[in-house]
Symmetry: C3
Subunit: 164 residues, 3 copies
Amino acid sequence: MTDRTPVAVAPGLRERIEDFLAHIARAIDDDALEDWPAAFTADATYRIIPREGFEAGEPVGILSCQGRGMMQDRVLALRTANIFEPHSYCHILARPLLAVSADGTIAARSGFALYRTQQGGGTELFAAGKYLDRIVEQDGALRLAARDVVVESRRVDILIVLPI
Amino acid sequence: MTDRTPVAVAPGLRERIEDFLAHIARAIDDDALEDWPAAFTADATYRIIPREGFEAGEPVGILSCQGRGMMQDRVLALRTANIFEPHSYCHILARPLLAVSADGTIAARSGFALYRTQQGGGTELFAAGKYLDRIVEQDGALRLAARDVVVESRRVDILIVLPI
Amino acid sequence: MTDRTPVAVAPGLRERIEDFLAHIARAIDDDALEDWPAAFTADATYRIIPREGFEAGEPVGILSCQGRGMMQDRVLALRTANIFEPHSYCHILARPLLAVSADGTIAARSGFALYRTQQGGGTELFAAGKYLDRIVEQDGALRLAARDVVVESRRVDILIVLPI
């Protein structure tokens, strides 16, 4: 609770990470979904997990992707399947807490609130929770090696069309 | 989606911009409305636009101000017209994404959630969306040359008394 | 409203403060309540105050703690009284506005939104408002000497079990 914890994150690196995370959220919010898989490493994992199960050590995901290819397939399906897409998202990310490992991997924890707007409808809270990210550097760029989206409630729409 | 995009924003400048944006939100939240027009250049534009129209290239604003004078008039009207003012705002701004042009103009995109509290009532989400700002430096101070408030939903109260 | 106000906060100090504030929120959100009192000085004050009374100069708190011991007692009671604890919190903090006094004391104003999730229920906005903090350095660590939680609405659950 004090600030004695060694924070080995150089200011410049923090800036890059925060921009990186903001760009990922923007890709979803601004319907640039193709950019979303590109933020991950080739063998990255992506899971949406209700908090209760996550804390009980039963991280059964609402949604789970193994590898960037699976994420790309998902986006492609959204684009080609002519699914009626009646809603848009708006992410509000809190400042991430960062920890750097000896091997340079960065653990980031970012609280978020996600608002959903139905076409022609009002805006409402869709989910709140935290991103637990493992971030690595590849070829000079930051990428997600793993993202666990821990949502506060189990009661999230089963039909999650867009990635969170 | 990677972080390769050149970010030509000096850390010190980012600090100033983030403080500037936070002060604008605070002016509205803390009922210091007179400070709100002062954040704009003399010929600045201010618009509130639903996302749907904005993306369709029909940026018909819910509200539009041309020039700081019009904003000042608006605030003056609020103060002198003895309007029953039954609500207050609370802004939560996400970290802005910044891009600096060759001429020094800064484009900023900040997600926001806006909560409204009716007098004697509860607090509820009033709007979510993003500020698309064009920021310039004048006489050593930052100012908004243009602010587009893109709100997610069309269904925003027609009676927007306070600026968003 | 311009950014002319002298900001005497060194970038490194701002980083420490923002991490400090984020850790406090995380302690509550992640059920590490014991870490919450540790963020305060021994004789710190903690109050939750509705905005209306706060602005009228009648800061009658919904909740008030005088000294860290009182906060520790509160946490201990939560842990030992076997209270059915059916909800969890999720804080979204906005960037704090900071002002440093000549004696080194830091005044911080951070907007926040607080989401509550009932066990087996959905996630909803519980409160929005601002933290008005007085932060000091003790033995090389940051600590809260005073925290006023100014909530927008009077209509907050009377039964505030967890600290906000």
